[in-house]
Amino acid sequence: MKLSLPEEELMNSGHLACQGCGATLAMRYVLKALGQKTALCIPACCWSVIDGPFPYSCLDVPIYHCAFETAAISAAGVKAGLEMVGDKETTVVAWAGDGGTFDIGIQALSGVAERNDDIIYICYDNEAYMNTGTQRSSATPYGAWTTTTPIKHFKDRPKKDIVAIMAAHRIPYIATASVGYPEDLVKKVKKAKETKGTRFIHIYAPCPSGWKSRPEDTVKLSRMVVQNAIFPLYEIEWGEKYTLNLKLKDKKPIDDYLRLQGRFLHLTEKNIAFMQGEVDKKWSRLLEQVDGKPAS
């Protein structure tokens, strides 16, 4: 039986994630790619709870549960400390949700990226503050319901383009990934592992609880979101060289994707048409960047 991913499991069962949690799939794949000589810095996020309470853990790698704003810099500190005590091999990873990356953690992330500190920063994006009960973050997409963007005033600002922000820092490696494409995710994380400096990986991770989607749809949503270009799979090296990993011959419309999630069911046709327009614009711009044309 040929398995398409490394066989070793560094994440164990018994953890506290909801049924169908995309964030857990993301962790499982990332650890398969990195191996046991890995240290994680996890700020406040779902994974602070998923890992299990004191005195337990569900991972076979060490974790530093750090303060909310500090994922990136805690990882840089751990890396510096490990190097100074003679461990130059352990890969240090900041593992944060969208809240700890796009919002409260962005200052520390920007600082780390500007200095090109030698860590891998992985953001698993479930598009809201899920751990505290689904409040909006700047990663929440336009149109979504959250508890702080109720239906009568749904999120009316676009999702912050974190990849563009990271590209502006000119770091060696940036990649987007989705748990619907685990082989691609593992390949990218392995590539990141072999690179020095600040590496940023943005992983799309559905949350059935917060998105009001069916738990069994998690992987399906993670494929659809790539195929309709809402979350394309691409890499950026040194902030300049864009590589598209999955060319979309047949870009799918976003309707079917939106329909599978309760957080979008209030949208009118007009809303959806607007959103489709924005996705199309963004996709064209990405294609231009891939072709090497400057952003107009």
């Binding site: 005195p55 751990v78 510096a80 400390g81 461990d87 352990t90 600082g111």
Partner: protein, 397 residues
């Protein structure tokens, strides 16, 4: 701009004229810190500038992470400390308070970071001059706090702070007054590196973050467990006074200088004891001399270690006095001066405790001179006991 003044050989006794901030840098260098992470703030900048030079020319083998805020500075130190490295940072006022969340993290996480803090007044309005509110408002965060009044004391305290912190796994801060100590040049005997290495061996924590023995540090802790973990922190903090004295005596054996928990000047037969801290504690000595010349049996008890508070020492030293005058360069709004509160609480229930006068002086860097102490002494001598709980010295009323 610091020149290569720190490169004058490492062996043998060395006396240098250095400012208080550089005393912190030299202390950290001699302690062979391994990871430094800091953000500039007046009046701390010289600490990190000199450490930057020392790292750049390899006088000090350390990684210096030049972060984008003090919150990140402490966060980096915590990560490095957890990985098993000896860490140091320095800050002041707004920077210290920005780190507040992480000060709790350091003590709760049992991470022995040592930090220099330059006492500077809290904004608003912007002030770069000295008072003690910034560090004293962190008194509940579980850090050992040392208050220095000379540059020699600063160098010696930093080195000893590492030893005590690493033994107890409790972080500590070494506090200097802005400008009156941080920028004042004094002669300092810099300890020999070789001897410091004997006194302070490399940091070897019992547990550290490593894939070789994976743990999850600081996870969700329920009411079933949190209490005991914090009980242990307090119990270990209670060992600090004795440990500080013990390591202080070891230090004295090697380097000839003893620090201890307090500095007792003429208190043994004093009728009026001034209780002070920081640089005003050395100004108070001058005042004590002058008072003695006028036949007033004055004494000065300068408190060097504020946390853990030296209850026993204070009780024993003030036992025989007729009056105590605590001088606070700080205030806890809605209450009193902080040293005043702590002194009073250590005397509560003790038979024959003298009345305690609480003076507030020098906030925002207003100068505290021997005349200030004269006024304080006069006030205390004139009254049987205080008729106000806060006596403001120097406020234009």
């Amino acid at each position: 701009m610091p020149d290569k003044m720190h490169l004058h050989g490492r062996g043998g006794k060395m006396r240098k004229v250095i400012m208080g901030n550089h005393a912190l840098s030299f202390g950290a260098m001699l302690a062979r810190v391994q990871v430094i992470s800091a953000y500039p703030i007046t009046p701390q900048t010289q600490v990190v500038e000199l450490l930057s030079e020392m790292c750049a020319d390899k006088t000090l083998d350390a990684e210096f992470i030049k972060v984008e805020s003090e919150h990140s500075a402490m966060a980096a130190c915590l990560g490095a400390s957890l990985a098993g490295a000896r860490t140091f940072t320095a800050t002041s006022a707004q920077g210290l308070t920005l780190m507040h969340e992480l000060l709790h993290w350091a003590s709760g996480g049992r991470l022995p970071v040592v930090m220099g803090n330059i006492n500077r007044s809290m904004a608003p309005g912007w002030s770069i001059w000295t008072d003690q509110n910034d560090s004293l408002s962190q008194r509940d965060t579980g850090w050992i706090q040392y208050y220095c009044s000379s540059n020699q004391e600063v160098v010696d305290t930093v080195i000893q702070a590492f030893k005590v912190s690493e033994k107890l796994l409790i972080p500590s801060m070494v506090v200097l007054d802005a400008f009156t100590l941080s920028h004042t040049y004094e002669v300092v005997d810099l300890p020999e590196q070789k001897k410091v290495d004997e006194y302070l061996p490399p940091f070897k924590p019992p547990i550290r973050l490593t894939p070789d023995e994976p743990h999850a540090f600081g996870g969700l802790t329920s009411p079933d467990h949190y209490f005991e973990l914090r009980y242990k922190l307090q119990k270990d903090m209670e060992k600090a006074p004795a440990l500080i004295e013990e390591t202080g005596k070891e230090y004295e054996k090697i380097f000839g200088r003893y620090l201890g928990l307090v500095d007792d000047y003429c208190c043994h037969d004093a009728d009026l004891i001034l209780i002070t801290s920081g640089t005003m504690g050395s100004t108070a000595r001058v005042a004590v001399d002058e008072l003695r010349q006028q036949d007033v049996k004055a004494g000065n008890l300068r408190i060097k270690v504020f946390r853990p508070f030296p209850f026993e020492k204070v009780r024993n030293i003030v036992k025989g006095a007729e009056k105590i005058a605590v001088v606070d360069r700080n205030i806890s709004y809605g209450h009193h001066g902080i040293f005043y509160q702590e002194v009073k609480s250590s005397l509560y229930g003790q038979d024959g405790s003298p009345p305690v006068f609480g003076f507030i002086a020098g906030l925002g860097g207003r100068d505290i001179t021997p005349s200030t102490f004269k006024e304080i002494a006069q006030h205390a001598l004139e009254k049987e006991k205080p008729d106000e709980e806060i006596i403001w010295i120097g406020v234009k009323q």
